[in-house]
Symmetry: C2
Subunit: 329 residues, 2 copies
């Protein structure tokens, strides 16, 4: 595996990422929904990254990271491990750079995610979760091909790319004459969350960033309390498949430890209720892992009364069966 750079990204890395992503990534809008404001008694600014290219914010970090690969290394391609949104983000970014992409995916990944990743032009290498080590497979492919491994979150180039979401929230809320008191984002490994927090520190210094995690996978909340990177007890079992990382990323933890506010934790049923609310009332397709920040609001866990709060909907790659389950609850 390549050695991970340990230098923390800065606001100027995010600015450079904004320039690279301009007219390539979608500058998603900052939406208002009167029905949501009335429901939670706050002014809510929704950042719908489900409307991003590939259906999640992951494209931002992937594209920014690939742009940092030197020209002469590009033809050797890119390698990633993912069963979900990072796979699609990398595959699409690689397509735009005309780079070969190899994604190591579990053989039991949802057929739709395997198909979408292939549709974006990536080669998919499957492995058996029970008997094989995906990181070893990725390392072997990198050794064989000279390809560049891209970690889904513990990488300064990836974090800077995701941080463009925070920079956009700051600029777009200002355009609307509103200054958010708080921003809440769905948090897995923390690439997006730490990127947003970095942007806010510079662009909206009074605004507090909050993580939101699924129950059983609240490693960030516990780690930010204890001061150490805590591990989750399980590796699966939540409906929020996009957020099931084992422990906070080293870089993300260092950034969020310095600036994040209280962390929220929502149950699977609260996440599914938020998916159903987004479908029925907001007319947005959001996956469970992309709805946990909204769920922190709707469940009443986040104290937002009278405040201006921005929530990030991080992804919309939901299986229709899961949506049906959400609508039946």
């Amino acid at each position: 595996m390549t050695i991970r750079e340990s230098i923390l990204p800065t606001r100027s890395d995010i600015r450079a990422a904004q320039d690279r992503l301009d007219h390539v990534a979608v500058r998603t809008p900052l939406l208002r929904f009167p029905v949501l404001d009335e429901r939670v008694g706050a002014t809510v600014l929704v950042k719908p990254e489900n409307l991003q290219r590939t259906g999640s914010f992951k494209f931002r970090g992937a594209y920014n990271r690939l742009s940092l690969i030197p020209e002469e290394k590009r033809k050797a391609g890119v390698v990633a491990c993912s069963s979900g949104n990072h796979a699609q983000g990398i595959a699409e970014a690689a397509r735009l750079f005309s780079m070969p992409a190899t994604i190591v995916m579990p053989s039991d990944a949802p057929a739709i995610k395997l198909k979408r990743t292939r549709d974006f032009g990536a080669r998919v290498v499957t492995y058996d979760r029970a008997t094989e080590d995906r990181e070893a497979i990725a390392a072997r492919i990198c050794a064989d091909t000279g390809g560049t491994f891209v970690h889904p979150f513990d990488d300064p180039g990836v974090i800077a790319g995701q941080g463009t979401v925070g920079a956009e929230i700051a600029a777009q809320s200002r355009d609307q004459g509103l200054v958010p008191d708080m921003v809440i984002a769905c948090t897995g490994g923390g690439g997006l969350s730490s990127g947003i927090a970095l942007a806010l520190q510079s662009d909206l210094p009074e605004c507090v960033f909050h993580t939101s995690e699924p129950a059983g996978f609240d490693d960030y909340r516990r780690s930010l309390t204890s001061g150490h990177r805590e591990k989750n007890g399980a590796l699966g079992g939540s409906v929020c498949d996009a957020l099931l990382s084992e422990t906070p990323g080293a870089l993300g933890f260092r950034i969020l430890r310095a600036c994040a506010g209280e962390g929220y934790v929502v149950s699977d049923s609260q996440a599914l209720e938020a998916v159903a609310f987004a479908f029925t009332e907001l007319k947005l397709v959001v996956e469970p892992g992309g709805a946990v920040a909204l769920a922190a609001l709707l469940s009443g866990q986040a104290d937002v009364a009278g405040k201006i709060v921005s929530v990030v909907l991080t992804g919309g790659n939901i299986d229709p069966d899961v949506l049906s389950r959400a609508l039946d609850t």
Copy 2:
């Protein structure tokens, strides 16, 4: 029934509606989706009115029309006939004006639409489609209560409200440095379509407006060809329940006859394919009647290659069963 005003609305009526709707209606964004641009070989600007208050553009016309009711007549309330989006738009606008609203709805309307209309605070009076005349029921309620009847499309105040969609498309495309060659909207009675066409005549005079209708309900396309208001052969039977008017509105026809380009007609299965594309690729919840303009693009019927084209997604109040049907096709 009240006498319909026959004076055509103008751009200044739309401007007045914009002022009234400011900070009340949602100024929906003008979205870009690289996946859609690549698919149809054009620059597509999506106007998602499914993200509008109540889930469709109908709120704009309803709120603007109610604002024209003199103060002293407001307490007598508003009366409308609708089984769908107009009902919800009127109910929500009446709630904001603290006016009583009575909506005459068929007893076999989808339970979800009856429920949503009541949830917005309206009184619902049901009738039997087979044996009762809804217009007679509405006229009786107006006579009894002194309430104001609001037609879903053949009303200058309603058309001016819907025209704000066209004014926004013109302003937002300019902000993005793009000038649309054409705008396509889903067309039923023609309130929205004629309002948009009016706004474009003034704000984007080189841009051509096109209707898009479901097969069997292409009364506008046929009327614009023949020069007379043609009737549809059936009153039901299409999955596009939002677009099943009998014949073009008198006002809408006069406006569109003067300026509309070729009309498009899409099959039910093309409309459902567009619903599925919006769900899977755009992450937007769109109902079949709200997807026929998109269907005109995706089906290849509209010749858009190399052009800049704006399509209006008019509504998102879809029954989950219909969405399942769309995703299974």
